[in-house]
Point group: C2
Chain length 347, copies 2
DNA sequence: TTGGCAACCTGTAACGTTTCAGTATATTGA
DNA sequence: TCAATATACTGAAACGTTACAGGTTGCCAA
């Protein structure tokens, strides 16, 4: 016998957001029937089904995410886990855009989960899993033996890694073929008569460090060039550090006549270092660099570049996670993107 | 096909995620009491309160977001609405990192809501509001008369804009002082004896287009320099377009001897165009450019730069939205960031 | 003694959804 | 004809939380 203002009981009008109850009232059916009709359950009559779906479309019904999530545990969320310090530069936004392309026509939302240098990279992943905040996770800065991948695999949470692991475990990934990149970069330099080459590597602990180093080393011996060790430098060091170390290197008598650089920002620093030492790009030394946007040729047209498409990476990663969520085999959701050829400045 | 084994009735052990019910069982209290105790309600005894909070911390209780959201309507979500085509480059990730700094120790999540060129910019905002997907919204590419701001204001949804509006309506914003930037840029060029200046503007419809143009124009008349019209170009055109138009401009007899550029990427194109025309930066022409990372001086040390900090923008925008959500006055949540001085290459 | 009141705690309902266990009606098989 | 069965639908319960409307104590003033 209570006269409370019960909200959505019987209004067919109202500015209130429609729920299943609203639809049930409008169609004269039960809430259960409406729910099942909307997801094409077979035990609902064909006509009823169409009728419900029509009305739902007309009044712009959208399932309440909180209701679904509470009842089913499904969040309809993909989380992109990012390192706040290292993941500098444009490529993060490219990945994000790639991901959003995939989820655009799905009920999925993308949340960005950051972590900082000081934290254990496992922290944000643990948080996501413990709070059940996402149906799928995308991680980057992948390591050969990656605790995050292992953790997610143990809990059965769908994920994809940007970069491969090397733990004998199967999971979706997308990777750029850095072995091929480094290999072809060396060949391109050799083709220009360069034979004393230095490599500016990816960060030491990451999987693609090894891929890059191996591609570099194999190509060196294949073309008969030699390496000028430059181990003190990697691409996630500061611009200033890379620059001064490069300048120092270039002042030695046994300096390299070619560089392979794994990132565009590092390349800017390398070139600055070369010029600090009074040498000239294209004459005294050549540099092959990866880039993710078409800017390096504006910087110095003598540079040789290889393009890496991060938007594609985001796209593939999202497809992989969604595929796993949808029940596809993790092993079938792996992709490797081949580098473009080494490009010189075109007119 | 239901994979849940659930039932959380009376287990004090279990791998299940703890809920209020779990806590109630463990403490011997009612669910209501536990709920109130956790939020420091005054009608709960001090000792009980501490006891509950202790147990909650011990077992790592985290409120279920779906439960809260369903019951209260509070999503604990901030949405960053981004244009997928225009918002190129690194600065998006900077904004994201700025936002995450603010929400790091709060229950808030950041979701990225994209829209593409083809869509009405109002679409994603409407979606967010209609589905109640966020407690607060951050929008960029703000226009003087911005339908999104008007819409959100009408519905009473907290938001902040990157850039100001000019509709006589009060709302939180963060903006970079582009008037001051353009003004000081002109003065710096005048200080180097340049007096025929061209401006590469922001996109035409956005508020900061006017700010920039006004700062430029006012400074011109203050220092007695003149403008070389270059209206066919703005910063969200392609690199190639800007480059070729700049080259054309520089081949005319009445070419400018100074440029003011509103974005780093455009500056690369401008310099390329200048050099295509056979002219030399620093000798024939000077360029003042905004930049959001410290890269332009590596590109050409003759460039004059002004720094714009997008991480700060993200930080301030997030603070503003959160402040509004927390009940602060929208009018008190506005900030304007002053440009650095015009910087020449430092040794 | 009684009533009033403050301090502290609790059960129930509701948010919107899906699942479980049905019910009612029509259809079929013998 | 009756029972078995298929078809189409439905109410109630549950997910975890908070708001509402109480309920018990114990203490104090009258």
């Amino acid at each position: 016998m209570d006269r409370r203002i019960t909200r959505n009981d019987d209004d067919a009008s109202g500015k209130e957001r429609p729920t299943l109850k609203t639809l049930a009232f409008m169609t004269g059916l039960g809430v259960t029937t409406v729910s099942r009709a909307l997801k094409d359950a077979p035990e609902i009559g064909a006509e009823t089904r169409r009728r419900v779906q029509l009305v739902a479309k007309q009044i712009g019904y959208r399932p309440n995410r909180a209701g679904v999530r509470l009842r089913t545990g499904k969040t309809n969320v993909i989380s992109l886990v990012l390192n706040t310090e290292h993941e500098l530069m444009s490529f993060v936004s490219d990945i994000i855009y790639g991901v959003t392309e995939v989820i655009a026509d799905t009920p999925y939302h993308l949340i960005v989960t950051p972590y900082s240098r000081s934290q254990d990279p496992l922290d944000p992943v643990r948080y996501l899993v413990e709070t059940g905040s996402a149906d799928g996770v995308i991680i980057s800065r992948t390591q050969p033996n990656d605790p995050r991948a292992r953790y997610l695999l143990e809990r059965g949470i769908p994920f994809a890694t940007h970069g491969r692991t090397d733990m004998g475990l199967v999971h979706p990934y997308h990777d750029f073929d850095n072995y091929a990149f480094a290999n072809e970069a060396v060949r391109a330099l050799a083709g220009k008569g360069r034979n004393r080459l230095a490599l500016v590597t990816p960060p030491l602990g990451l999987t693609y460090y090894r891929h890059t180093v191996n591609g570099f080393a194999d190509a060196l011996s294949e073309v008969g060039a030699s390496e000028v060790p430059f181990n003190t430098v990697s691409i996630d060091q500061s611009i200033e550090q890379i620059r001064t170390r490069t300048a120092q290197l270039m002042q030695r008598k046994d300096r390299p006549d070619g560089f392979v650089s794994s990132a565009a920002a590092a390349t800017l620093a390398i070139v600055a270092g070369i010029e600090d030492a009074g040498l000239k790009l294209g004459r005294d030394v050549d540099v092959v660099s990866k880039q993710s946007s078409e800017l390096l040729h504006l910087f110095r047209r003598e540079l040789l570049v290889v393009n890496e498409n991060f938007r594609l990476a985001g796209f593939e990663l999202a497809r992989a996670v969604m595929g796993w969520i949808a029940g596809q085999e993790p092993g079938s959701l792996q992709s490797l993107s081949k580098p473009s050829e080494v490009l010189a400045y075109r007119g």
